[in-house]
């Protein structure tokens, strides 16, 4: 027994590096969740390239509990940033049939007579799922209310996330990190000292040297810590994006809109302080994209969409864009970052060897990224009306075997194939299938056990109920204004 390290006490210092969203979230979560015996040092440096606009502007329902874990409550987020509520993303003018649908968040759909909800729709030949989903209907109408925790009715089955500005959303996390005991060092990194495949120390611009047992690289796409360890940058499709902020005006809908354009796509996100416009495009189409963007971008960057072969090498683990970048088509970018941080929390090394933690982190991270890319890739399984660089490149990405199975099975019999621990759930896939106008050749015959008229009437009832409910809900701006007034009174 004497030759083994004292368990649980191997790590005494974790060094988080980076100045962007990933570093903020990671520092706060680690400082809050780890025991005091582990010191979290946050080297808040300037990232060589700012790519935080690629986190998009929407995060899903998981943000609520993640943020609490990091020490940031919803009231703090609402009062401290210009974050607003979100039912999801509305795709507009998408694909060959110019589809429009709200890719919303939702709790599991009901199972009727032992048959999955969407199978009844397939049977009835109903192509539109949206009128049956409260968040989608509420998104179109621009209304919002918190789903009751223990209620019944369509609102209680809805789920919400947030619309955020990646450059302000992070602020409460900085405060949470320090109040949870993270030691903040504001300095740039001048050198990464590596020895035998590990980081020995970071030399900072102010002359300090920072040592640690584990280094968390949140320095963005350049991965300043991971790169010196010999980990290559990902290869893949290049994408550019421009972000601008348009202050003022009444708060818009609790739903991001994302419209297909010849150069790529453009999204509008309503925030407390105004609207954010994000334009994503292939580098070849810069001129028309920027012309369409209109305003001068406040942030502008180019990235490679993809993930490094490994995110954890030696004693260095990369999070966020240092590990990989997803296209901000959905809420995936921040969802995947949250999951990376949660995964790291479960894998804080217990010995200098770290091989188990490294392997597991890399395996799960690669799987997560793959699943998210599959969800995105599926959005391009349509004939685009555009024959431009962005659409050609997006469609040229190979269909992964898992995605092929999902698409084949839905087309064959409306079957939702799931793999272990996917980040996107069955409801999100169903919504995408219907949204994209995918049809199934067959439906579950057990649905036939319910009389056709009864099934149709049940759906019509739900639709009416949702319509009625949505009409009675307050507008997003009204709801948020009241909430803020209430929270201020309560002095959160």
């Amino acid at each position: 027994m004497s030759d083994r390290p004292v368990p649980g006490t191997f790590i005494s210092r974790i060094v988080v590096c980076g100045g962007g969203l990933a570093a903020h979230l990671a520092a706060a979560a680690l400082a809050r969740q780890l025991p005091r015996s582990i010191q979290v040092v946050w080297v808040k440096c300037r990232d060589p390239r700012d790519t935080d606009l690629f986190y998009g502007g929407v995060v899903g329902p998981t943000a609520y509990s993640f943020n609490l874990l990091a020490g940031v409550s919803e009231p703090r987020l609402i009062l401290g940033t210009d974050t607003a509520f979100s039912w999801g993303t509305r795709f507009d003018d998408w694909g060959e049939n110019h589809r429009s649908w709200v890719q919303c968040f939702h709790l599991p759909f009901p199972v009727v007579g032992g048959v999955l909800y969407h199978q009844h729709l397939l049977r009835l030949g109903v192509g539109e799922l949206e009128p049956l989903l409260l968040p989608a209907a509420a998104a179109r109408r621009g209304v919002f209310a918190h789903p009751p925790e223990n209620g019944s009715g369509p609102l209680s089955r809805a789920e919400y996330g947030y619309q955020f500005n990646p450059y302000t959303y992070r602020e409460p996390f900085a405060a949470a990190a320090t109040s949870s005991g993270a030691q903040l060092i504001a300095a740039d990194i001048s050198e990464v000292e590596c020895r035998e495949g590990r980081i020995a120390a970071l030399r900072l611009a102010d002359g300090q040297s920072v040592t640690g047992d584990l280094f968390v690289d949140c320095t963005g796409v350049d991965a300043r810590l991971l790169t010196p360890l010999g980990v290559r940058a990902p290869e893949g499709r290049r994408l550019k994006a421009a972000l601008s902020h348009h202050p003022g005006g009444k708060l818009g809908p609790p739903c991001r809109t994302l419209m297909a354009r010849d150069f790529g796509w453009q999204s509008e996100t309503s925030l407390q302080s105004g609207r954010a416009r994000l334009t994503a495009y292939a580098p070849e189409s810069e001129a028309p994209a920027l012309a369409a963007h209109g305003a001068t971008p406040s942030h502008h960057a180019e990235v490679v969409i993809g993930r490094r072969d490994v995110a954890w090498a030696g004693n260095c683990v990369a999070l966020g864009h240092a590990a990989g970048v997803l296209e901000p088509l959905t809420h995936a970018p921040l969802l995947i970052l949250q999951r990376e941080i949660e995964r790291l929390l479960t894998l804080i090394p217990v010995s200098p060897d770290m091989s188990v933690e490294r392997r597991e982190f890399n395996r799960q991270g690669a799987a997560d990224h793959r699943h998210a890319e599959n969800f995105h890739r599926a959005l391009f399984e349509t004939q685009s009306p555009f024959d431009t660089a962005y659409w050609l490149a997006a469609r040229a990405q190979p269909l992964h075997e898992m995605l092929a199975v999902k698409l084949t099975q839905f087309a064959s019999r409306g079957l939702l194939v799931a793999f272990d621990l996917e980040p996107f759930n069955a409801e999100e896939w169903t919504i995408q299938h219907f949204g994209m106008g995918r049809r199934a050749a067959r439906y579950d015959r057990l649905a036939d056990q319910q009389p056709m008229a009864e099934a149709r009437a049940a759906f019509q009832n739900t639709e009416r109920e949702i319509e009625k409910l949505v009409t009675s809900m307050p507008s997003h701006s009204e709801y948020l204004a009241n909430l803020i007034r209430y929270l201020k009174q309560k002095q959160w």
Binding site: P5, F10, I38, L345, T346, L347, E360, S412, L415
Partner: protein, 523 residues
Amino acid sequence: MPDQIRNGPIESVCVLGGGTAGWMTAAALSHKFKGQAVSIRLIESDEIGTVGVGEATLPHIRNFNSALRIGEPELMKATEATLKLGIEFCDWGRIGDRYIHPFGDFGSELNGVPFHQFWLRLRELGDSTRLDEYSLGIMLAEMGRFTSPATDPSRLESTFRYAYQFDATRYARFLRRYSEANGVVRTEGKVVEVRRNADNAFVESVRLDRGDSIAADLFVDCSGFRGLLIEKELATGYEDWTQWLPCNRAVAIPCETRGPLMPFTRATARKAGWQWRIPLQHRVGNGHVYCSDFISDDEATEFLLANLEGPPLAAPNKLHFKTGRRRLFWNKNVVAIGLSAGFLEPLESTSIHLIQDGITELIQLFPDRGFAQSDADEYNRRMGLNFERVRDFLLLHYVANQRDDSPMWLHFQNLKLPDSLQEKLEAWLARGLIIKYEFGVFLPPSWIAVLLGQNLVPRGHDPRADAVPADLLAKNVAALRRDVLAAAQKAPDHAAYIRQVGAASETAPMVAPPSTIVDRPTA
């Protein structure tokens, strides 16, 4: 839906074989398709015995029964069933060891950190309590008590689940009555010829020894090891897993019960395999699973007979098998369910469970007469994963231990494991981490029970468990331990419970009041 109309629904299903798999399949299909124009026929021969060794089940069987609206007392009475809280493993880690793999949790997680991590930390600080003391399922089992779990997830009494130990032959008979009442037509006979379509080689009909011919759109092959359709006819092929699980024979024999009626199955490791003990209301089922490379059939039988607790009630029943799975579970219009699909030794009571999985997936992927290849592909993918994940869990028992007292155990010490299992073991040993999956029957508590039960104690624990001050943690777990103990002590004796809920079989002499059991001589 043009395809749907063109292909049309399946109108006839023929289930070949009337063992547990056959009648479970017939019962489930007849219930699911009640009121639809699907005729279901089952062919069996009284001359061909059923294997019926799968007497112990997993909690999922309750979902199967309740979906069929079968009442528990009725079922228990008819099948001489007892309640099962888990499996007791004897002599697996080292000779003399024993532990229970429960259906249920150990404590509850705190801030996302699994309970066993806190336990590991306390252990390192010198605490000597067993993890078992935080499992209500185990405490109930050890005391020979039983109560129905609570449905409110916030209650301690909701932290365990249960299954049955029953007479599988009676279960099949029970489901036969159920199926026939639902319109399933049973035909007595042996298949002597299989007719196939000249174009697509699908099975069209089977001819029986009495001359009649039975045609169907879909054939479910529940003919046991022989795989009459899936193998003998379609030559689907078999993936041999003997390299990992070399046991290839079993001898089974029932005996009279001695001692109190315990709510668990027992699996005792032996020199060349292991022995099961399954307590039913009217008898005890026993068996010796072994590898013929390491022991002769006669020795294996003698050994079993010498290790029975009471007089035998029948002649020994000998079985030969090859561990593995059919290359395709669904081939053309034939779906293999039960032993025809594959065989994994019943160390964790998975035989009936894999039947249930096969039926559930078949219903989910139920074909049309067009037989889309994609339906079969997905079925094969899902069932392949189910089999593989059970295989890894079974293998865990053989490799996660310290036995070296016989050639069989030495064989396992030098075995190269499947990567999936090797990585799981390493993650556990390093830090008590269970690598999770979503699809597969055994959840993390099962892995924890076996790993710790077989003396694989992790070198470290999750550092997050250190976030709670040690004295506070010790106080909290002591309170939990007391609560678990109190809840277990409140529960009635297992046999008393069976009588209380009206599930005692009238033919069951062995469900005697505890007072008379005390006086009973032991074997």
